[in-house]
C-alpha cells in the first residue's frame, strides 16, 4: 500500500510541473498586462514600460518562468500586484475560506445525496422515489448562482433570518454559531446540484447491487430489510459511489466560484476571478498551482480509499 501511495505521489510531479507551464503560458499569452490594468486610463506606452520594469516583467519569458518556479520551490510565491501582499498569505487565507464553504457543502451533499439515493432505490417506483426524483431533478436544473440570489432575497432581505454576505460579522464574537449563520445559505446553494447528482448515481448504484445474489442470500437468511439495505447493499454500492463523491468534491470546489461571488465569501475562487480581471499574474499563477496541487492530492486520496474498500483494485 505504501508503495502504491508513493508511486501515485511521484506520478503527480510531472502533472504539477505541466500545470505550472500551462498557467504561466496562459497568463503570458492573454492580451492585456498588469501595468495596463493598474494604470487604466493613464496607460501610456511610456508609463506601461516603466511600471513593467518596476514589476520585473521586462525580462524574457523563459527567465521569468525559471525565476518564478525557483522561488516557488523555496516557498516564495511572490507578491500580488493588485493586493500588495505575499501571494501565499492571500492564497492560504482564501483557501481556508473555500475549504470551510466547500467542505460544509460537500458533507451536506454527500450525506443527503447518498441517503436520498438509497431511499429512492429501496422504494423503486414508489412514492418516495418519485418525490425524491422530482426534487433532485429540480435541484440539478437550478443554476447555483441564481438559487443563491433568490435565497439572499428571500431569507436575508425579506425574512432577515441570515446575513446577506461575508464569512464573519463586522462586529461581535467569532463563534461557531455566528459562522454557521453565515454559512447556511452559501453552503446550501452550493450543495444543491451536487446532492442531486449524487442522489441519482447512488440510486442506480444501489439498484444494481440490490439485484445481486448476495442480497437475496442475506434476505433469505433473515437479515431484516434495514440491515440488507444499509449494511450489505450500501457497503457494496459504495465502491461505485465513492468515485462519484470524488468527482463531486471537485465540482463543489470549482462551483464555489459563483457562490463566493454572490455571497461575497472570502474564498479562493473569487480571488482568482478578481486576479484574472486585474491581470494579477503572480496571484493567478500561485492560486492555480496551489488549487491544482490540492486537487491532485485529493484524487490520490480517493483512489487510495477506493483500493482499501475494494481489494480487486490493484495497488
Amino acid at each position: 500500500m505504501t508503495g502504491y501511495i508513493l508511486k501515485r505521489l511521484v506520478s503527480a510531479i510531472p502533472v504539477l510541473l505541466g500545470i505550472t507551464i500551462i498557467v504561466f503560458l496562459i497568463m503570458a499569452m492573454i492580451p492585456g498586462d498588469p501595468a495596463t490594468a493598474i494604470l487604466g486610463s493613464y496607460a501610456t506606452p511610456e508609463n506601461v514600460e516603466k511600471l513593467n520594469r518596476d514589476l520585473g516583467l521586462d525580462k524574457p519569458l523563459f527567465q521569468q518562468y525559471i525565476i518564478w518556479l525557483g522561488n516557488m520551490l523555496t516557498g516564495d510565491f511572490g507578491t500580488s500586484f493588485a493586493l500588495n501582499r505575499p501571494v501565499l498569505d492571500e492564497v492560504l487565507e482564501r483557501f481556508n475560506g473555500t475549504l470551510v464553504l466547500a467542505g460544509t457543502a460537500f458533507v451536506l451533499c454527500s450525506f443527503l445525496g447518498v441517503v436520498a439515493g438509497v431511499v429512492s432505490a429501496a422504494n423503486q417506483y414508489g412514492a418516495a422515489d418519485k418525490v425524491i426524483t422530482f426534487v433532485v431533478l429540480l435541484g440539478i436544473s437550478i443554476p447555483s448562482f441564481f438559487l443563491g440570489m433568490m435565497m439572499i432575497l428571500f431569507f436575508a432581505v425579506n425574512l432577515r433570518w441570515f446575513p446577506v454576505s461575508g464569512m464573519w460579522p463586522i462586529y461581535g464574537d467569532r463563534t461557531i454559531g455566528v459562522l454557521l449563520s453565515h454559512l447556511a445559505m452559501p453552503a446550501t446553494a452550493l450543495a444543491v446540484v451536487a446532492t442531486g447528482v449524487i442522489a441519482r448515481l447512488s440510486r442506480s448504484a444501489m439498484l444494481e447491487v440490490l439485484r445481486q445474489d448476495f442480497i437475496r442470500t442475506a434476505r433469505a437468511k433473515g437479515v431484516h430489510e434495514r440491515g440488507v439495505i444499509w449494511r450489505h447493499a450500501l457497503k457494496a454500492a459504495m465502491v461505485s459511489i465513492l468515485p462519484v463523491l470524488g468527482i463531486q468534491a471537485g465540482f463543489v470546489l470549482s462551483g464555489a466560484v459563483y457562490i463566493e461571488i454572490v455571497f461575497q465569501w472570502p474564498g479562493v475562487g473569487r480571488m482568482l476571478v478578481d486576479a484574472i480581471l486585474k491581470r494579477d499574474i503572480l496571484l493567478v499563477q500561485g492560486g492555480v498551482v496551489f488549487v491544482a496541487a490540492c486537487y491532485v492530492m485529493f484524487n490520490i486520496a480517493v483512489d487510495v480509499a477506493q483500493s482499501l474498500l475494494d481489494p480487486r483494485i490493484k495497488t
Binding site: 492585456g32 494604470l39 493613464y42 441517503v115 432577515r160
Partner: protein
C-alpha cells in the same frame, strides 16, 4: 415500506437538527451601531498608500485619512488651501511656494513640516531616494514636471517646475498628492500601505483582509473633529449583493448603485444621492481613414445617435447628455453655450449623402466592462441600431476591458472605425491634452486613437497649459470646446452622474464632483 418509515423519521430528525443549528442564530442580525458608518465598497483596496494606488475605490478611504497641500472646495473642482495656508506662483509659472499650516502632527505623532513635504515628493520622483523602493508609484507622472522640491524654512516649501504647468495645483488636490508621514514610511517600509499614517480627520484602525478596513475619528483634526466615531469600509464586489446588503441593513452607505437597482430605494427609508462628475463617455471616430475621415460623416454620427434615449432608457437617468469634450463638472472651464448635437436622423442622412458615404461598412469596438464605461454592451447595441437607421452597416466586435485597451490605445488604424471610451479626470487639461492633440497620436505615446488633428486646438491646449491665470485658462478651454464640437472627432454621448444610497440613519452626506467620499461631516444615528 417499513424501511421508508424509519428513514423518513431519521431524515426528519436530521432536518430538524440542521434547522435548529442554523435557525438558532436567525433574527440575531445586529443592527449597525450608532456613530459607526458602514460603507459598501466595490472592491478590496490595494493599499492605503496614496502614492502607490490608482483606483477610485482606494481613494474613497484615503481622502478621509490624509490631507494634501490643497484640496477641492466642497461641491466643486476648484482648489482651496488645506495643509498649505497659502501659496505664491512666480511670474513665469515655474516656481510654486507654499506656506504650511503650523502645529499639525501626523497620526503617529511626528510633526508635519516642509521636510515632510519634500520627503513625500522625493520618495515618488527621485529614484535615488532611500524609500523610492516602497513603490512602484504608477501615477507619479502627475508630478513629472517637478524638477526640485526645496525646504525654505520649517513651514515653507518651494517646488520648481521644468516649465509652466497650470494643472499642477489640481494635481496636488488629487489623491496622489496626499501627504504621508515620513516617520511611518521609515518604520514600515514597503508595508506602509497596510500601516498608513496621515493628518486627516480619521486615523487608521485595522484592516482585515477581504472583510473590512476600519478608520477611527481623529479628535485633534485641525479642521474640526469628525462627527462619526468610526467608518468601516466593506468590500462587496457584486452589485446585486451590495444592493441586498443595503436592503437588509448590513451597510449604511452604498456607492455605485446599478441603475436597475435604483427603484428599490425609493421609499422614505433611503436617500438616493446623485452628483455629476468630471466624466465623459464618448465614441472615438477614426478620422484617418474610411468614412469618418470626412468631417460631415463624423457630424452625421453625432446627429444619428439618440443620446437622450441612451441616458434615460439604457442608463436609467444615471447620466446626462454630453455636449462636448469637457464635462460640465469643471464649472469654471466648461462652455455653457455649447448645445449637444440634437437627435436628427434626417440631417444625418443628408450629411451622409452629401459626403457620398451611404451604406458605409463600419467596425465598432465595444468593451464588456471597465472603469467608467457604464453599461457598454447595451449602449453599444443601441448606438449600432441608431447608426444603421441612418444607413450605415455596423459590425460590433466585443472585447474584455484589458484586451480592449490593448486594441484601442495603439490606434484604430486598420482595425476599426468607432470605439467606445470613457475618461474621468481631475483637471480640464488632462483629457484633451492626452487625447485630442496632434502630438498625442498613439505613435507619440498619447491616447488620440482616432488621429484627430487641428493645429488651432493644439495651440489652444498648449497655451492653456502654460497660463497660470484661471480666467485665461477658462477662456482658452471654452474656445477649444467650440472647435472640437464642430470638428466632431468623437460622438459626445454622456456625462456620468455618480450615485450613492444612504439609509435614514445617515445625515449630512453629500457626494462630491471629484467622486471622492468625504465623511468628516457625516452623522450616523
Amino acid at each position: 415500506m417499513s424501511l421508508f418509515h424509519v428513514t423518513r423519521r431519521s431524515l426528519m430528525a436530521t432536518g430538524t437538527a440542521l434547522a435548529l443549528t442554523f435557525g438558532a442564530f436567525a433574527g440575531a442580525q445586529a443592527q449597525t451601531p450608532p456613530g459607526v458608518l458602514i460603507v459598501g465598497q466595490i472592491a478590496e483596496p490595494k493599499a492605503l498608500d496614496p502614492a502607490a494606488v490608482t483606483a477610485v475605490n482606494d481613494f474613497r478611504i484615503l481622502m478621509n485619512v490624509y490631507d494634501g497641500l490643497v484640496r477641492y472646495k466642497d461641491g466643486t473642482l476648484e482648489v482651496e488651501p488645506a495643509l498649505a495656508e497659502s501659496w505664491e506662483i512666480s511670474e513665469d509659472g515655474t516656481v510654486y511656494t507654499f506656506k504650511l499650516r503650523d502645529g499639525i502632527t501626523f497620526h503617529d505623532g511626528s510633526a508635519f513640516n516642509a521636510e515632510a513635504v519634500k520627503f513625500n515628493f522625493d520618495r515618488m520622483l527621485n529614484e535615488e531616494h532611500p524609500y523610492h523602493d516602497t513603490g512602484p508609484f504608477p501615477l507619479a507622472f502627475f508630478f513629472s514636471s517637478v524638477e526640485s522640491t526645496e525646504v525654505v524654512d520649517d513651514l515653507t516649501v518651494r517646488f520648481t517646475l521644468n516649465g509652466p504647468y497650470a494643472p499642477f495645483l489640481s494635481n496636488l488636490a488629487y489623491p496622489t498628492g496626499l501627504i504621508v508621514s515620513p516617520a511611518a514610511v521609515e518604520q514600515h517600509g514597503a508595508d506602509f500601505g497596510r500601516n498608513p499614517s496621515g493628518t486627516g480627520p480619521f486615523t487608521f484602525g485595522e484592516w482585515r483582509s477581504n472583510e473590512a478596513v476600519v478608520i477611527e475619528a481623529n479628535p485633534d483634526y485641525w479642521d474640526g473633529a469628525p462627527k462619526l466615531q468610526a467608518v468601516v469600509f466593506r468590500p462587496i464586489t457584486d452589485a446585486n449583493t451590495r444592493t441586498a446588503e443595503m436592503l437588509a441593513g448590513g451597510i449604511d452607505l452604498m456607492v455605485e448603485v446599478p441603475p436597475v437597482a435604483l427603484s428599490e430605494f425609493q421609499g422614505d427609508a433611503y436617500t438616493v444621492h446623485e452628483q455629476a462628475g468630471p466624466h465623459v463617455w464618448f465614441l472615438i471616430l477614426n478620422a484617418k481613414e474610411g468614412p469618418f475621415a470626412d468631417v460631415r460623416v463624423r457630424q452625421a454620427a453625432n446627429f444619428a445617435v439618440n443620446k437622450e434615449a441612451l441616458v434615460n432608457d439604457v442608463l436609467e437617468g444615471t447620466a446626462a447628455v454630453a455636449a462636448g469634450p469637457t464635462p460640465p463638472a469643471f464649472a469654471w472651464a466648461y462652455n455653457p453655450d455649447l448645445e449637444p448635437y440634437p437627435y436628427d436622423p434626417e440631417k444625418a442622412r443628408a450629411l451622409i449623402a452629401e459626403a457620398g458615404a451611404e451604406g458605409a461598412q463600419l467596425t465598432f469596438f465595444v468593451t464588456e466592462g471597465g472603469s467608467g464605461m457604464l453599461d457598454p454592451i447595451a449602449m453599444g447595441t443601441a448606438i449600432q441600431a441608431d447608426l444603421e437607421a441612418v444607413g450605415f452597416d455596423v459590425t460590433i466586435e466585443t472585447y474584455e476591458w484589458n484586451t480592449f485597451l490593448g486594441e484601442v490605445n495603439p490606434g484604430l488604424e486598420g482595425k476599426a472605425d468607432i470605439a467606445e471610451m470613457a475618461w474621468m479626470t481631475n483637471d480640464p487639461d488632462t483629457l484633451p491634452f492626452l487625447a485630442l492633440r496632434t502630438e498625442a497620436w498613439p505613435d507619440q505615446g498619447g491616447f488620440n486613437s482616432g488621429y484627430y488633428s487641428n493645429p488651432e486646438v493644439d495651440a489652444l491646449l498648449e497655451a492653456a497649459r502654460v497660463a497660470t491665470d484661471q480666467d485665461e485658462r477658462a477662456r482658452l478651454y471654452k474656445e477649444m470646446q467650440v472647435i472640437v464640437q464642430e470638428d466632431a472627432p468623437w460622438v459626445f454621448v454622456a456625462n456620468w452622474k455618480q450615485n450613492a444610497v444612504t439609509s435614514d440613519k445617515v445625515e449630512n452626506f453629500a457626494l462630491q464632483p471629484s467622486f471622492f467620499l468625504l465623511l468628516d461631516e457625516v452623522v450616523k444615528n
